[in-house]
Structures are given as structure tokens and as C-alpha cells.
Symmetry: C2
Subunit: 202 residues, 2 copies
DNA sequence: GTCTATATGGAGATAGAC
DNA sequence: GTCTATCTCCATATAGAC
């Protein structure tokens, strides 16, 4: 009987889903072996540091995904295209509100202290990249920073509320509102040359 | 040697702080006995249902606090006064961003399923009360509901981001922004009779 | 109504066979 | 590189003395 051979890179997404669903403390080794079908022995072979190492690698992989799909485009590309890419990636990643942000969830309890640097970097990088993009799009530095904060925090809040109410429409509405906020600010900044546009934040 | 006699009502705030800091799964009986100084025997005397009953009573107490300090004023009082009261209560309750929302944190992992009704009610009651207040202040129903959602979710998001960055200024700024959003909408609604006021959302 | 002592299961982690 | 068997510790929970 052939045994299933895993690569570490195949295991991490499975771990991510488990941690996301159960939280760091709520995830036990037993659950991990059950859901992945991988024995304790194999898991320790991949992750000698045990649960903490697993979670650290999960966080690193999530961060990597966002860097590639969101932060780098924001810092590099044409602002309207980069923003469009951000909304698409974010909506896809969080499955339109069905999936929570593992890093945000880890931030809320004592798990934060275990992974403080990774958690902080994830959000700071997002804020930095988005601020840069908005600045290039014409917003003043302080306005860009404020708006970036509003967006990043608004996504986190929407995930919390959508899950609390078990209603993902909350998430969709919030993404729309945040898009609107960005449009409004950028149009205000461009007022000298162009007439105010038609779309209110609602 | 005199023994310290506790009342259940004295214990619950202690439990609340522990759950808030460590999360539901991260809180063990051992931690609870250490931090409260109450033995297991006494704890089970107060809470025969164990940890789950403790958390349920904590959630109920938090809800009760918000009903009294926030939701009832919003549903009953003069809108400007009720809103002012909400901002003061919220800023005080969350210690200007130092303290997270236990109910929001519980919403993010499998703990939600254990306390789904309590979690949902907490947020729905808040949304309902705030929508009512904003409607009475002159906003249209849909605008009031949208704005209420923005406020409630914006507070949750600010708590997540403030803790992730370990920077409570994020929370203060967001409260200010949300106040501004409300002012802006209410002034727009009152445009027919009154001149626009002086304070921009920044 | 408080406590200590204890039962029992599951936690994270390791050893070592295959 | 996979697995099972096992270790130790701490989890929740209970019993019963004071």
C-alpha cells in the first residue's frame, strides 16, 4: 500500500485552514493529525519546533501571499490598477467574508505576543504600501496615511462583524464603502483640473 | 485566618479580564485559580458548568453593560447627547484602545459557535440602537443603517489594528474619524434648514 | 462556602521500529 | 520519511474534608 508523501509546502495550507478555524490555542495536535491525515511523527519531522513552528510558517506564507499579490503591486504599479488588484485579491482571499484574517485573529489574544513581529509587519507593510499608492495617486501624505488606516482596519472590522452576524453581506458592503472613500478623496485632490464625479460613498 | 468571601458578581469582572487577555481556549482553570486566588472547588461552586458557564456569564455581563450605557441611551435619548454618551462609554470601556472587545475576539474562532446567540445579539442590538438614533437625528433609514454598520465595524477593526501594531493612537484616530462621518451625514441631511458646520472629518 | 486531594483524559513532545 | 507506542504534564472535573 502506497503511502502519501507530503511536501512541507503542501501541508502549510492545510494547517492555515485549521488555525484559522480553531485559533492557535484551540488547535491541538490531535486535530491536526485527524484533519491532515498526517501522523505526529511526520509532523514533527517537518516542524521540529512543533505547533509554534507550524503557526510561524503559516503566518510567513500568508505574509508572502499578500506581499506578492497586494503590497508589491501597490508599491509598484499604476495606482488605479494596483487598487483594483487589491480589491480583487482581498475579496478573493477572504472569500467575500466567509474567511477571517488569521493574523488579525492572532492579534487579539495572547497569541499576539508569541508572533508579535510577524503580526506587526503584516499590517505595517500593508499600510506602508497602500499609503505609497495613494500618495502617488495624488493624495497628501497625511490624507493617504489616514485613508490607508481606514481601509486596513475597515477590512478587519468587516471580517469580525460578518462572522459575528454570520452575514457576509456586511463584508461586501464595507469593501464597496471603502472603494468609495478612496474615490472621494482622490477626486477631491484632483479638483483643480476635473469636475467632481458622480458616485457618493453609498 | 479569615477567608476571603467572594460573591459571584465580584468574580465575573476578574474572569472577563482573563478571557479577554488569553482567549477562551487559552484560558485554563489553572490560570483562573492563580489570577483570582480562588480555588477550583469554589469556582465550581459558583459555576457548576465550568469554563463554558463562566464565559457565558462574562458575555452576559458585558452585554448588560452595553445595554445600559450605550444601547438604551441611543434608543431613548436626544440623539446628540446619546451619541456623545456612546463615544465616551466606548472610549472608556476599551481604555482608548488598550483593551480589546472580548465579544469580537470570540467571534473570530470556533468559540463563536459556542456562544453564537450572545455574540450575534450584542452586535445586532448595537446596530439597531445606533440606527434608530441616527434615524431620529435626521438620516434616512438606509443611510442610518449603513453608517451604524460603519461605526460598529470601525470600532472592531480599530481594536484589531491597534493591538496588532501595539499602537493605541490608531484607535483614537478612528473614533475621531467615525464621529466625523456621523457629523457629515447628519449635516447633509439637515442641509435644507441649516448652514454646513465647521468641522471636517479629519 | 471554602479548600485539598484526586480521577481521568488529552495536551505537546519523543523514541524508535519499519 | 513514515508510522505507532509511549512519556510527562496539565487540562477539566469531582469528591469530600473542614
Amino acid at each position: 500500500m502506497p503511502r502519501t508523501i507530503y511536501e512541507k509546502s503542501d501541508v502549510i495550507p492545510l494547517l492555515a485552514e485549521i488555525f484559522r478555524e480553531l485559533g492557535y490555542e484551540g488547535t491541538s495536535f490531535g486535530t491536526i493529525t485527524e484533519r491532515t491525515g498526517i501522523s505526529k511523527g511526520s509532523l514533527y519531522h517537518f516542524f521540529p519546533g512543533g505547533k509554534e513552528e507550524m503557526a510561524a510558517e503559516v503566518l510567513a506564507e500568508i505574509d508572502h501571499w499578500f506581499v506578492e499579490k497586494v503590497y508589491e503591486p501597490l508599491a509598484r504599479d499604476d495606482p488605479p490598477a494596483a487598487l483594483e488588484q487589491m480589491w480583487t485579491s482581498v475579496d478573493g482571499y477572504f472569500r467575500s467574508g466567509h474567511r477571517i484574517c488569521l493574523i488579525g485573529a492572532f492579534a487579539l489574544d495572547a497569541t499576539r505576543d508569541r508572533f508579535a513581529a510577524a503580526i506587526r509587519d503584516y499590517f505595517e507593510d500593508w499600510l506602508r504600501a497602500l499609503t505609497s499608492c495613494l500618495t502617488r495617486a495624488g493624495a497628501s501624505r497625511p490624507q493617504a496615511r489616514t485613508l490607508a488606516e481606514e481601509v486596513v482596519l475597515g477590512i478587519q472590522g468587516a471580517l469580525v462583524l460578518a462572522r459575528a452576524l454570520d452575514n457576509d453581506v456586511v463584508f461586501a458592503r464595507q469593501l464597496k464603502r471603502l472603494r468609495g472613500s478612496i474615490d472621494t478623496v482622490l477626486q477631491q485632490e484632483a479638483h483643480a483640473t476635473k469636475p467632481p464625479a458622480h458616485k457618493p460613498p453609498n
